[in-house]
């Protein structure tokens, strides 16, 4: 079976109330019109009971209205994959638009304006267009998916994303038969992104990523708008990012403004810097090392001074059963 499902958990009345009060207050303070309406929409009750200790994020209408119907734990990780605390997942990031230190993104990404936000869908599609996040999500139900995230730097986390399968969104745009690859682009806004102003930066901005059409249409490939029952923090790629759990983290491009369906394999950020170190596919593979370090094992975070929490890296990050067939007959040492 491809996707494991779990029953929704029951929650107590008190949590719902406290959440709606919280949000009523938020909306009141923000001076949003239609206060009564906003207050009447409680946060996803499930999320409220499960992510109690998670720092509350913004609550745009497009998110709030979908949270109630969200499918919680639509996909779960393995039994030994303990959820990474929200504080770690949101304070230890690679988002080079905001700097190279792991704590730069959370310190600086607050400056990024995520509302309004539009995503352009273009290229080999019958229905191109420029959509806001609400229009992008359309009628699709939000799903929670708990995925392992393996960084190319040999550390990993386990994160509960909220999003919709990318395939659903691509299908709506009606790709033509010429669409062989999907190219994604991150926001380019140097005035809000200090990394893009750097004179010694190696990345050719804007950040670009790409997937083969069958990878993009794979049911595991997620277009995420939230995590830990809330919207994505800016440093994690608000408001819309990609999550491809069987590939190294850098393939899961953040803060997307453009999705183009194209005929040719697009040029992507990391192979452009160094084609020997990073490939287009970048599937998690313990047998193909990065030239500067081994990929055989990974440090599962958080760890401590007393234990590195080192575990063996799994082929396709443990999603081989689902995705190995995509690469049948391919030499994964050549197409790394």
């Amino acid at each position: 079976m491809l996707l494991k499902t779990r029953k929704r958990h029951h929650i107590g009345e008190n949590e719902v109330t406290s959440e709606s009060v919280y949000h009523a207050r938020r909306h009141f303070m923000a001076g949003v019109a239609g206060l009564g309406m906003a207050a009447a929409l409680p946060r996803g009750a499930w999320a409220a009971s499960h992510y109690d200790d998670v720092e509350k994020g913004a609550r745009p209408e497009w998110f709030a209205s979908r949270l109630e119907k969200a499918k919680w734990e639509a996909v779960t990780a393995g039994d030994s994959d303990k959820l990474t605390p929200f504080n770690d997942a949101s304070h230890y990031n690679n988002f080079f638009e905001f700097g190279t230190s792991k704590d730069d993104p959370y310190k600086r990404a607050g400056a990024m304006t995520t509302e309004p936000w539009t995503i352009e869908i273009d290229g080999e599609v019958a229905r191109p267009g420029t959509l806001n996040v609400d229009q992008l999500l359309g009628e699709h139900q939000l799903e929670e998916r708990i995925y392992r995230l393996r960084c190319v730097e040999a550390w990993s986390m386990v994160i509960p994303w909220l999003g919709v399968p990318l395939s659903a969104i691509l299908k709506r745009a009606e790709p033509t038969s010429d669409a062989k690859f999907v190219r994604f682009q991150t926001l380019m806004r140097p005035e809000e992104m200090p990394g893009q102003r750097s004179r010694f930066g190696l990345i050719d901005w804007p950040y670009q990523e790409g997937l083969r059409m069958d990878e993009a249409m794979h049911p595991l490939t997620l277009l995420s708008v939230g995590m830990y029952g809330r919207v994505l923090p800016n440093q994690n790629g608000a408001p819309v990012r990609l999550v491809v759990p069987w590939k190294y983290g850098f393939k899961s491009i953040k803060s997307i403004v453009r999705i183009s369906l194209v005929k040719e394999q697009p040029s992507t950020a990391w192979p452009t810097i160094n084609a020997n170190e990073y490939g287009f596919y970048s599937n998690v593979n313990p047998e193909v090392d990065h030239p500067r370090w081994s990929q055989a094992r990974e440090r599962r975070l958080p760890n401590s001074l007393f234990s590195t929490n080192m575990i063996d890296t799994q082929m396709f990050n443990g999603y081989g059963e689902e995705v190995a067939s995509l690469y049948k007959g391919m030499d994964l040492r050549k197409y790394f």
Binding site: T84, Y92, G195, F200, R292, P302, S304, L305
Partner: protein, 205 residues
Amino acid sequence: MRFWRCGIFVAALLPFLWWAWQVAAGQAGPEPGQYLLLNFGQCALILLLLTLSLTPLMKLTRWKGFAVIRRQLGLWTFSYGVLHLTSYLLFILGLDFSALGEDLQRRPYIIVGFAALLMLLALAVTSNRYSMKRLGKRWKFLHRIVYIALALVLLHFFWVVRADMTQWSGYAFVGVILMLLRIPVISRALGRVRPRRGRISDTQH
């Protein structure tokens, strides 16, 4: 002077105490070992550059204070280098020495960094007065390997950079300036910026 030296001692010790406290207080992020590793390494590089800036500064200002802390800063450089290596062995490698061989093959920058630290070790053990007397002229020659160590440290850092060269470029720039100031012509010119008192009185006549 004694006060000045003690001040430098405390100032050099403070980063260590600060980072140790951050780790103890759980404020060093989800990977505290890596946090210490990076900070100790960077601190060692900064101290190395500071140590190498003392001679030019002394020539420029003729203030003896720069000379009296040179050995101390050199030893601090070595100490933070040792902390950096120790962090790697303890927190990254987890004392799993079977993985060390593999790491050394795949991460040539570890070999380069280790070579630099060995050089600093040689300098540290010969930094005492006895060694200076014993080695005589050869002491000065030996201690010039600090320049090679600096080049290796910068190479070590260069190989770790992934996305942005800004920080590395800054350190390399300072390193290159400090090397240029040691070219004899420039070094002599530096000494003439603020002439000796004797000469000032000469010119006043």
